[in-house]
């Protein structure tokens, strides 16, 4: 079981949270200008790195807020927890 540090409530058991997939996937500003391939890429294609991954979590049993977690997919080590709207950190930049 992971101990996830909710940015609002503090450290809680993983079972209190629900998983929301990869973070920082931005909805295209003009969806009707996209080709089918580009739209499919937005809808379905996700990174599957062996290493740090930015993902969304929701504290369902606590404050019910969404936030971002940077988790190492091999060791499960949580490297960073940050609020929605904050830029992704680490080596990938932006």
């Amino acid at each position: 079981m992971l101990l996830i540090d909710c940015p609002y409530c503090g450290p809680r058991e993983e079972i209190e949270f629900s998983y929301g997939g990869e973070a920082h996937i931005e909805r295209p500003k003009q969806p009707d200008k996209l080709s089918d391939a580009e739209w499919a890429d937005y809808l379905f294609m996700r990174n599957n790195p062996k290493g740090p991954l930015a993902e969304r979590w929701c504290h369902s049993y606590g404050c019910r807020r969404w936030f971002n977690v940077e988790r190492h997919t091999v060791t499960h080590e949580i490297q960073r927890v940050y609020k929605m709207g904050e830029p992704r950190g680490g080596e990938e930049g932006t």
Partner: protein
């Protein structure tokens, strides 16, 4: 808004009436259901100072801004639920007046006030062994170094979602639980407390 004369208990099927006693001297865990508690959910922006002052004036105390904390005076309290969400508790007799007072005072602001009195019921778990009972089904650190009187937390107890609120150093806890999970949680609590000397006491409020 519910008619107080129709208020029922979700524990009716457990027929606890005959088992309620005044607590024995050696009771180390006491269990009670507080059925007459009004609960009002508030969603508002804490950076709106004007609105926070309006609430302070109506309630008689400020909304707690620090996470997992509560604020209150006598029987009325405000529990922190999230960065922009609180639960106000008060005796049922004040439910309609308080709801009206809050709604009218904050009319000009962007917020949500919802009467959620009947969504959850409140159990009172108290006594020297109360914390041992909770620790059997709750992953939260309830040791006094981490969780004291005046702290609250929405978490899981025996696999069901609850709002825990420590109300005294004895310790005593208010456990807010969904109506439909109340009978289940009550049975679980009685079972978890069986090894201690548990007494069921009448509703004190």
């Amino acid at each position: 808004m519910s008619d107080p004369s129709l208020r029922q208990t979700p524990l009716a099927t457990l027929h606890l009436g005959d088992r309620k006693t005044s607590p024995a001297h050696d009771a180390t865990v006491r269990l009670a259901e507080k059925i007459f508690i009004a609960k009002i959910n508030l969603r508002a922006d804490p950076s709106n100072r004007k609105l926070m002052r309006v609430f302070e004036k109506v309630l008689g105390f400020a909304l707690p801004l620090e996470s997992n904390t509560t604020n209150g005076k006598a029987v009325r309290s405000a529990l922190w639920l999230g960065p922009d969400e609180w639960l106000i508790t008060a005796p049922s007799s004040q439910e309609q007046a308080l709801f009206k007072a809050l709604s009218e005072a904050a009319e000009a602001h962007h917020l949500a006030i919802t009467d959620v009195s009947d969504a959850r019921t409140v159990f009172l778990l108290s006594g020297p062994n109360a914390r041992d009972v909770l620790e059997k089904g709750c992953g939260l650190d309830l040791h006094p170094r981490a969780f004291q009187t005046g702290c609250c937390a929405q978490t899981r107890l025996a696999r069901t979602g609850v709002l825990l609120h420590q109300t005294s150093d004895e310790p005593a806890y208010d456990i807010h639980v969904s109506w439909s999970f109340a009978a289940y949680l009550w049975i679980w609590l009685e079972d978890a407390a069986a090894e201690f000397n548990v007494t069921i006491v009448a509703d004190d409020g």
